[in-house]
């Protein structure tokens, strides 16, 4: 028997109504990936969010898609999104110019455990565009570098042309308090770095497995095998965090599309402890 709950009047704002933002800047990150910087048209000076959260971005007349926020949580004056051109909406978004207006709903979802990770070594493992949702956590952590132990970023891409945020990676590499290892699936002779899947970098990465928080974002299969490698090093699955992705229409738990077992990725995720997901990830077509 379901208890009838309708005992008092509820107050409501509409979580399905987008706010309007103007494109302030566009950056080409690679041949198929770009970043937009947005400012509110409705007078909001900042867009506060937590690292790992996402927004629903609407291109007028075309459609709406979930995109992680890739900007700096400590500088919310502009809202920053990085996306790869993969579908109708991202293709239309790429055609937009500075000054054009898009709709934004959010921020939605769970965040990377930036505060809880204090005092630990940190391992970031990114696959392709998966670096974008991790970047806000990197910004936030580097801003209080002394609160954390060793920091390692392992980044895997399809080819050298797919490497995102190159200048930033070079700058970070020059800091000496952050180790960055990049690998590509395939490359021509001009590439002198690692070749192979990102999980190959894990055995040699410098961190103390018993005192490490890992934040992993990339294709599902990559996250699964990364978690398995991290566990082989001795990292507790409770300390490995992944960011999940599914078809999503509403971002507020109404449309049902993003269900993954018992969770809604839009409101319970997208960031989950791997321990909560590992059994589900081991099955097909969940």
């Amino acid at each position: 028997m379901v208890e009838n709950l309708l005992t008092e009047k509820l107050t409501a704002t509409d979580p399905m109504l987008p706010g309007l933002f103007r494109i302030h800047r566009i950056l080409k990150e690679s041949y198929d990936t770009f970043t937009v910087e947005l400012v509110s048209l409705e007078g909001y000076q900042t867009f506060p969010f937590e690292a790992g959260q996402f927004n629903m971005l609407y291109v007028y007349g075309v459609g709406e898609i979930p995109v992680s926020i890739s900007g700096d949580p400590l500088h919310p004056e502009t809202l920053v999104h990085t996306t790869r051109v993969v579908g109708t909406v991202t293709r239309a978004m790429r055609e937009l110019k500075i000054g054009d207006v898009i709709g934004v709903r959010g921020p939605f979802g769970s965040a990377w455990p930036v505060q809880a990770a204090k005092g630990n070594d940190l391992v970031f493992v990114a696959g392709g565009i998966g670096l974008a949702p991790l970047r806000p956590a990197l910004y936030q952590i580097l801003a209080q570098r002394d609160r954390y132990g060793k920091i390692v970023l392992l980044y895997g891409c399809r080819s050298p042309e797919d490497i995102l945020f190159r200048k930033e990676l070079e700058k970070w590499r020059a800091r000496f308090d952050l180790e960055i290892y990049v690998t590509v699936d395939y490359a021509n002779t001009r590439w002198h770095g690692n070749v192979g899947v990102v999980t190959k970098l894990i055995p040699k990465a410098p961190f103390d497995p018993l005192n490490t928080i890992a934040m992993v974002c990339g294709p599902e299969v990559m996250m699964r095998f990364t978690a398995i490698e991290l566990q082989k090093r001795g990292v507790n699955p409770d300390n490995i965090y992944i960011s999940m992705e599914r078809n999503m229409k509403c971002a507020v738990g109404f449309c049902g599309h993003c269900q993954f077992g018992p969770t809604f990725i839009c409101k319970n995720g997208p960031v989950y402890p791997y321990s909560q997901m590992q059994n589900w990830l081991a099955m097909w077509e969940i």
Binding site: M1, V2, E3, N4, L5, L6, T7, K9, L10, A12, T13, D14, P15, M16, L17, P18, L20, R22, L41, Y58, Y60, G61, V62, G63, E64, V86, G87, G99, D100, V101, G103, E245, R246, N247, K249, C250, V252, G253, F254, C255, G256, H257, Q259, G261, P262, T263, F264, K267, Q276, M277, N279, W280, A282, M283, W284, E285, I286
Partner: protein
């Protein structure tokens, strides 16, 4: 409305069949858009009713797996039919709803949301359907976010429940503990009684709004014999239910059964047509369509019912996550009976039997559960044993 808990239980009343038209008129006079059962296209559906002549008097239905027929009957009851192919979901959570409109001009656009909905009075809501409404309340009103469209419709709705005088051919509410008697969530609840040349309703009042309506209608306190007659009818209905769904440990069983060979079996029969999700009174999934007019100056977003049985439902760059029939049926059934409990604290099934009746190949959810149960959560050849999260 339909605020049951704090309302003092008042003794049942008697309301005569000959005064039924007055109920419709009083509701109408109070500004309600009265929705009730009526016959159309060979089925009992729910639509606007102004007169008791529009009710399906002299009709009853015969339902079984994959079959629904209206049949003529000598029965003069207004509510002799059982579950309609429609549910009240279509009014509270409409099949297509414009969420907002956008107008483009001067290089920008403006978004406006206007949603007007009539104040509905539902007449003839069955116990299972009340439970279905309570379940959708949890999805749209009592989760992390609140759907203002659902709220506007729901809060203004007046509910006249009707206790079932007989079990439909595919009903199993008794085993789901959701019926056949309406126990909460109504403004008025009627039990229709035809005996000894008399035709009357035993009325229970569930809210102040319900009491207010009854004050405007001829009524008298129910006698012991009349109350007993109503109880007898409900006991008979419960006892004559041909199906049951055992819910003991069902969630745990289904969590263990993701690799059950039964999913392969049902996938050989399932057409992935999505009928079950459309007739289900609790299935809430939707998609959105973003469209513009020919000039491109006017855009809108329309929310439409969607079904987890389509390939599009789980489409993500590169392909559909649930590409096999097996995985889509498994998702639907497991969500309905297991993961729903973790999401909303209740099963998603109310035992109305619609998914059984309206499945073109007669797949029976109670039979599928029984078969999975018989397998005991065993896995198929290369299956992975799964633990509850």
């Amino acid at each position: 409305m339909a605020i049951p808990s704090p309302f003092p239980v008042s003794p049942p009343l008697i309301f005569e069949r000959k005064d039924f038209q007055k109920l419709l008129e009083v509701l109408n006079a109070q500004g309600y858009h009265v929705i009730g059962p009526t016959v159309r296209d060979g089925a009992v559906i729910y639509d606007e009713v102004l007169s008791d002549h529009e009710f399906p008097v002299g009709w009853t239905d015969s339902q079984s797996a994959g079959a629904y027929r209206l049949e003529k009957s000598d029965n003069k009851a207004l509510f002799a039919y059982t579950a309609s192919p429609q549910s009240w979901k279509r009014f509270l959570h409409p099949p297509a709803l414009t969420l907002w409109e956008a107008h483009r001009s001067n290089g920008t656009f403006q978004i406006t949301a206007e949603d007007t909905s009539p104040r509905y009075a539902f007449v003839g809501v069955r116990a299972c359907e009340l439970q279905a409404i309570a379940i959708q309340d949890k999805v749209f009103l009592y989760s992390e976010f609140l759907d203002p469209h659902y709220k506007a419709r729901r809060e203004n709705t007046f509910i006249v429940a009707v206790n079932c005088g007989r079990a439909g051919g595919t009903c199993f509410c008794a085993s789901m503990n959701t019926g056949p008697k309406a126990s909460s969530g109504f403004d008025l609840a009627l039990t229709e009684i035809l005996e000894d040349e008399r035709h009357y309703f035993v009325v229970e009042i569930g809210s102040e709004a319900g009491a207010e309506i009854m004050r405007e209608l001829p009524h008298r306190p129910a006698g012991e014999g009349e109350i007993e007659a109503a109880e007898r009818i409900l006991a008979q209905t419960a006892a004559s239910m041909g199906r049951e769904l055992k819910t003991d440990d069902l969630k745990e069983l289904l969590y263990r059964s993701y690799e059950s060979p039964r999913w392969d079996d049902v996938a050989r029969r399932c057409l992935t047509c999505g009928n079950c999700t459309l007739v289900c009174p609790t299935c809430f999934c939707t998609t959105v369509e973003d469209v513009t007019d020919l000039t491109g100056e006017q855009a809108q977003r329309v929310r439409k019912w969607d079904s987890c049985f389509t390939m599009d439902f789980s489409y993500i760059h590169g392909g559909s996550v649930r590409y096999s029939t097996k995985s889509r049926y498994r998702q639907w059934l497991t969500h309905k009976l297991a993961t729903w409990i973790d999401q909303f604290g209740t099963s998603g099934c109310v035992g109305c039997g619609r998914c059984i009746t309206w499945c073109p190949v007669g797949i029976d959810i109670t039979e599928e559960v029984q078969a999975v149960r018989a397998g005991g959560g065993k896995t198929s050849k290369k299956g992975v044993k799964h633990e509850n999260v």
